[in-house]
Subunit: 151 residues, 2 copies
DNA sequence: CGACCGACGAGATTCAGTCTCGACACCATG
DNA sequence: CATGGTGTCGAGACTGAATCTCGTCGGTCG
């Protein structure tokens, strides 16, 4: 998806140093199509012999999260995962089969939040919404009712 | 909130044994007003010298979750917490100040999910929504603009 | 070119959550 | 009432994710 360029620029803009390990982590993230866990990156870094330490991966993820380059999400099984993303406020649809994620915009959540605020009396400050299901491809493969080809 | 009675009845109905430790955990949960973590219960059980083991707490929580007596939620900081709740599908509003949680019903989420499905092409199977903000009391305390008393 | 400070890797550490195990309680038989 | 099987228990070992520490390295700026 992103080739890491966005990351580099964002780091630069925010006044962080542009170090080799950070580029490497950015590269690892860029090479992924869906969500990933810290352990995934760690494993890949190790297998590619990038020589990046555990701490560095976590530091980089923390940094990228802070810069809104990456977002942390919680899978239903309790795992913590990350997805690359750029926008400020949005949500993710996560394919429970292949792990692909897609960003979606508000889609009326604002109205829901307001409704909740009205009913509960709370001052809603933020919310998180995660949707799970099958992405078009996986849906086509598992239930090929309308599409006739399966690959 | 609940005094554990609901728990006892649910266990009974579902065919699970009504053991003392389970009652104890139910009691611990009942004595809480907001969300709580497994560690919270653990600590309280220990300080009260209830003699309940770690595993038992987790087993009970797992059981209660399965029976829809309790729901697991993920706090923004990544912690795993639980809230007492009864209904099948609903969401939680969590006070980021005092930790109180309130259940809210769908509030139009169904429409949002459908809209997301339409835009993304995904088959949405489930979703999770968590709202964070200030509960009426905390809001009144921190910004007493309309209410004049502060306690 | 030199010094400072942020970032680094390695590994120790912590902590939540799970698993294992032997003991025990409950229920259903005989 | 004795017996056996099943489900649950507590304790503690274990696992793996995440954090922290520390001495070193390297980028940046004077």
């Amino acid at each position: 998806m992103t080739d890491g360029d966005t990351f580099v620029r964002a780091l630069d803009t925010a006044g962080y140093r542009l170090t080799e390990p950070r580029r490497a982590v950015a590269g690892l993230i860029g090479g992924r199509r869906g969500y990933f866990t810290a352990a995934d990156l760690l494993a890949e870094a190790k297998s590619r012999r990038l020589g990046i330490g555990r701490a560095t991966i976590f530091r980089a993820l923390e940094l990228f999260t802070e810069l809104n380059l990456v977002e942390r999400l919680d899978l239903p099984n309790g795992e913590h995962a990350y997805v690359e993303c750029a926008r400020a406020h949005h949500h993710h649809v996560i394919c429970s089969s292949c792990g692909r994620t897609t960003e979606v915009e508000d889609c009326g959540m604002q109205a829901v939040a307001e409704e909740v605020a009205r009913r509960s009396g709370y001052q809603i400050a933020s919310h998180r919404l995660e949707l799970f299901g099958l992405c078009p491809k996986c849906a086509a493969q598992s239930v090929p009712d309308r599409s006739r080809l399966q690959a």
